[in-house]
């Protein structure tokens, strides 16, 4: 209730202001009655969400059991916080936790910056055919599986004629080929770069759509003011897609516990395991493969809790800065 009113208070549109005043006088119920159509349009979907996403949450209780799929849920052994204790006491879990966090922050920054820059640059191309072709080509790697992309990545990084070493040697940056995949310090960078390579075009699509919806009159007005190309980008295009950027940023901050697992699994090796292992790999090894669903669920809960905390924090910061918010 309090939330609803504060939501209304934050409202800036004039029509809503009128309604707000009305709502202060009437009860919530009569307000809802006025919003019958909105209710009919959203509440069935709310029930759907509750059924498909929230109902199965009982499964989280498994984290407090020693769940064996063979037995029914109620005949399981309850173990309290034992699974959580195991995780927090395990050095490997802590290490994987840190790796996950670092890799996803790197990925987040890289993929955001590159996708926005590419969208801006594509927007500057006036030849429609060229623009469409480039845009189409750039998203193609999205359809390749990680195993194919990683195969190409390792070929490029090879010390026997790999293109990366050849180019760096030709430029005189290194004297002899570097074994890129044998050193942990390069691993995060390689993962970040491979991610950009594979997903850049795909990530850009959403910004291109946002740019497409900017009113051309705004560009004309800026031109009248004598704005150059970069000024227009800065003053028209970027503000035009700002809300999209911020919303995506908030949503993705909530996803930092999710660094993926395939690329690390495929490119990783014993020499870099201190850098390459993520929580997903940990859960696979010690949870799923061990038929240890309780441990896997416990790790999932930890992840969800952190994600949701980060999400609200990011949303709060956006609110304080007066920016678009998610919630």
């Amino acid at each position: 209730m309090a939330n609803n009113i504060s939501a209304l208070n934050n409202n800036k549109s004039p029509s809503a202001q009128v309604q707000l005043q009305a709502s202060l006088k009437t009860s919530k119920w009569s307000l809802l009655k006025n919003q019958k159509q909105l209710v009919f349009m959203s509440v069935p979907l709310l029930i759907y969400i509750l059924l498909f996403s929230y109902a199965p949450i009982w499964g989280w209780l498994m984290a407090f059991q020693n769940y064996k799929p063979a037995k029914s849920f109620f005949n399981q052994k309850w173990v309290g916080l034992q699974q959580f204790e195991y995780l927090f006491k395990d050095e490997a879990f802590i290490r994987d936790f840190v790796n996950t966090l670092c890799m996803s922050v790197i990925n987040l920054v890289l993929s955001f910056v590159t996708a926005i820059i590419l969208a801006l640059l594509l927007n500057e191309i006036k030849n429609m055919f060229f623009k469409r072709t480039i845009q189409t080509i750039s998203y193609l790697p999205h359809f390749l599986s990680w195993i194919i992309v990683c195969g190409i990545v390792s070929t490029c990084l090879s010390t026997e004629g790999g293109i990366v070493n050849e180019v760096l040697m030709a430029l005189g940056i290194i004297d002899s080929p570097v074994l890129w995949l044998s050193e942990g310090k390069y691993f995060w960078g390689i993962v970040g770069a491979a991610n950009v390579w594979k997903e850049l075009g795909w990530n850009t699509i959403i910004y291109i759509a946002a740019i497409a919806s900017i009113d051309p009159a705004q560009y004309e007005a800026a031109e009248m003011d004598g704005a150059g190309r970069f000024r227009k980008m800065w003053n028209v295009t970027l503000p035009g897609i700002k809300s999209t950027i911020i919303i995506l940023l908030i949503m993705n901050i909530g996803r930092v516990m999710d660094a993926g697992f395939e690329i690390q699994y495929i490119l990783g090796n014993g020499l870099v395991s201190d850098w390459s292992e993520t929580i997903d790999i940990y859960v696979l090894k010690y949870g799923i493969k061990q038929f240890n669903y309780s441990l896997a669920t416990a790790a999932g809960i930890i992840r969800s809790v952190i994600s949701i905390v980060l999400l609200f924090a990011a949303n709060f910061v956006a609110k304080k800065l007066g920016e678009e918010r998610l919630i």
């Binding site: 020693n66 064996k68 799929p69 063979a70 037995k71 490997a92 990683c150 195969g151 390792s154 070929t155 090879s158 010390t159 026997e160 074994l179 995949l181 044998s182 699994y265 495929i266 090796n269 014993g270 020499l271 395991s273 201190d274 696979l284 090894k285 010690y286 799923i288 493969k289 061990q290 038929f291 240890n292 669903y293 441990l295």
Partner: protein, 563 residues
């Protein structure tokens, strides 16, 4: 890492099949006399009411085509339609939901690691009475092993082992298992010497590499150590073989006391890795060896410039084929059964053992278990084994004047075609169901791969000469004679119980090895001891004792129950 370990074990299990041949199919409208009359009666009874049997195979595979000639024949003669579902994604996830939901097909194929999941859920039905009453052929088939097929928890017979039951004489030709492999050109260049020890092995490679620093314009690679994912047995298993033990996974078992010892931290292991360290610093070992994935490993082997590797043949057999395709037979490899010194008797080649806990089991969802067991009973007769193993006489093979089964090059080629097999062979049924191995009463091998003539027909002139230089007839002669199997063998088949301390420790141990062994091998000679000590310290942080306790507990159980 248990997942990996499981896969390794599965593949090892497969590897143990040695040169058992991919059975072909072929329907026999042909008479095939000489089968027990009871069986014929059975199959006629069975034909009376048509039945569909649903199978879940916890291995990836492809269903036969709808017009497959062998399955058609089975339907015609036995009234049985087989509906197969194969594993596609992750085995543990699939079985997890299957067991949790209690939705089973009639028959499941289980292995050492999935068996406890099904039996633990009470999903399988005991077979001992069912077989005794309905299946005389199966009863005879498993009679010598009636103690070994018992479940280690409750003593029931749930799973019909898919292989390891031998009839009459047999001969293995190609070694599919583990060995130190050496390029044939290296041996030929050195005058076909016998290679007995680790030092001799690396000496040969070192000399050859010095003499020929390049092969076909590319740098010669002395030795490769694959460590990608679950295939890291190439890195981790050699020490046990070097001291004359068979592949028992991460332990060596004393044959006299039947007690397992964890060997990764022992001095003989250190000796081996120190040798690799020396070889790396001398430039014999490929610097990329620990960062490359399996595909890159195969690409390097296929280039013909790798002189040696420790591996199991099936793991790189495609590289062998690629070299043959390029007509570089001299760049393929011969196995060496080497040890640390000549006083140690090597133990690479093994005898086939009964593959306990792996095979078909009937679930509680099956409505007509008698009928299903009768079906398998019929299949294990010579009449049907011939159809499953060789195909249809006249179509897939013929019988020469000596009564020997022979195939034309055309017929042999068909086998290699995956599509052809899906149409013309009942491979799935042959491979996973109880089967005869060895040879039939008339002396022919149960499958073409065992037929000596088939093997010689497949050899190239280079290989014929190569074998002649050594005075051998088969590749298996490069290895030790397979000794009588110990009761402990193979110890890797022991179920560690998912999620238990033993199993978690096993995963941890694997990770430490994956991390430190490459580090030790790539270190400067002066640093080796330091890295090794660090490795041993890390190993001892794992609960090795929990792992060993479980192993020894089960070894003891075997000793008491497997007599």
């Amino acid at each position: 890492m248990l997942g990996k370990k499981r896969l390794v074990s599965l593949c090892l299990a497969l590897a143990m099949m040695g040169s058992v041949m991919a059975g072909c199919g072929g329907a026999s409208e042909s008479k095939d006399s000489g089968t027990a009359p009871t069986t014929t009666a059975d199959s006629k009874d069975a034909a009376l009411d048509p039945i569909e049997i649903s199978f879940f195979i916890s291995d990836p595979g492809q269903a036969p085509t709808a017009d497959n000639k062998i399955y058609k024949l089975i339907k015609e003669k036995l009234g049985v339609t087989c509906k197969f579902e194969f594993l596609v994604g992750d085995k543990d996830q699939k079985i997890g939901v299957m067991v949790a939901g209690g939705d089973y097909p009639d028959v499941v194929f289980v292995d050492t690691f999935t068996n406890p999941k099904f039996t633990g859920a009470g999903a399988l039905i005991p077979l001992e009475d069912l077989i005794a009453k309905n299946a005389p052929n199966l009863q005879k088939h498993y009679e010598p092993y009636k103690n070994k097929v018992k479940d280690s928890n409750d003593g029931h017979f749930y799973v019909m082992p898919d292989y390891g039951v031998y009839y009459n004489d047999y001969q293995t030709n190609i070694w599919q298992g583990a060995a130190f492999w050496i390029q044939k050109a290296v041996l030929a260049d050195a005058g076909y010497p016998q290679v007995k020890t680790l030092d001799q092995y690396f000496d040969l490679i070192e000399k050859y590499q010095a003499k020929y620093p390049e092969i076909d314009g590319q740098k010669t690679i002395g030795f490769e150590v694959l460590s990608d994912g679950w295939r890291d047995f190439c890195l981790k298993n050699p020490p046990e073989h070097l001291i004359g033990h068979p592949n028992d996974g991460q332990v060596v078992v004393d044959p006299d006391t039947n007690v397992a010892e964890f060997f990764w931290d022992k001095d003989y292991a250190k000796t081996y890795y120190k040798k690799l360290n020396d070889m790396y610093n001398k430039g014999l070992i490929d610097p990329e060896t620990f960062t490359m994935n399996y595909d890159q490993y195969m690409a390097k082997l296929s280039s013909g410039r790798v002189l040696g590797t420790f591996d199991q043949f099936w793991n790189f057999s495609n590289a062998d084929l690629t070299l043959k395709q390029q007509n570089k037979i001299e760049r393929t490899w011969a196995p060496c059964a080497i040890t640390l010194d000549e006083s140690i008797q090597p133990y690479y080649q093994d005898r086939n053992v009964l593959n306990v806990n792996t095979g078909f089991a009937i679930t509680t969802s099956c409505e007509n278990p008698e009928r299903v067991i009768k079906f398998f009973d019929t299949l294990v007769t010579e009449e049907w084994q011939r159809i499953l193993g060789w195909g249809i006489e006249g179509e897939d093979y013929s019988v020469d004047s000596n009564g020997e089964f022979v195939r034309t090059p055309e017929q042999r080629k068909n086998y290699d075609d995956q599509s052809w097999r899906l149409q013309n062979m009942a491979y799935t049924l042959w491979y996973y169901a109880p089967k005869m191995e060895g040879s039939f009463a008339d002396g022919n091998a149960c499958t073409p791969g065992f037929q000596p003539k088939e093997f010689y027909a497949s050899l190239s002139d280079y290989d014929k000469n190569f074998l002649k230089q050594y005075g051998y007839e088969t590749w298996t002669q490069f290895l030790n004679e397979a000794p009588e199997n110990r009761i402990s063998y193979p110890a890797w088949g022991i179920d560690l119980v998912d999620g238990s301390a033993a199993s978690m420790a096993n995963t941890k141990i694997g990770e430490v090895g994956t991390k430190f062994l490459p580090k030790a091998i790539l270190s400067k000679p002066a640093d080796f001891d330091k890295v090794w000590d660090e490795y041993v310290t890390e190993l001892h942080k794992c609960d090795i004792q929990a792992y060993l306790d479980r192993m020894n507990d089960q070894l003891k159980w075997r000793a008491e129950n497997w007599k």
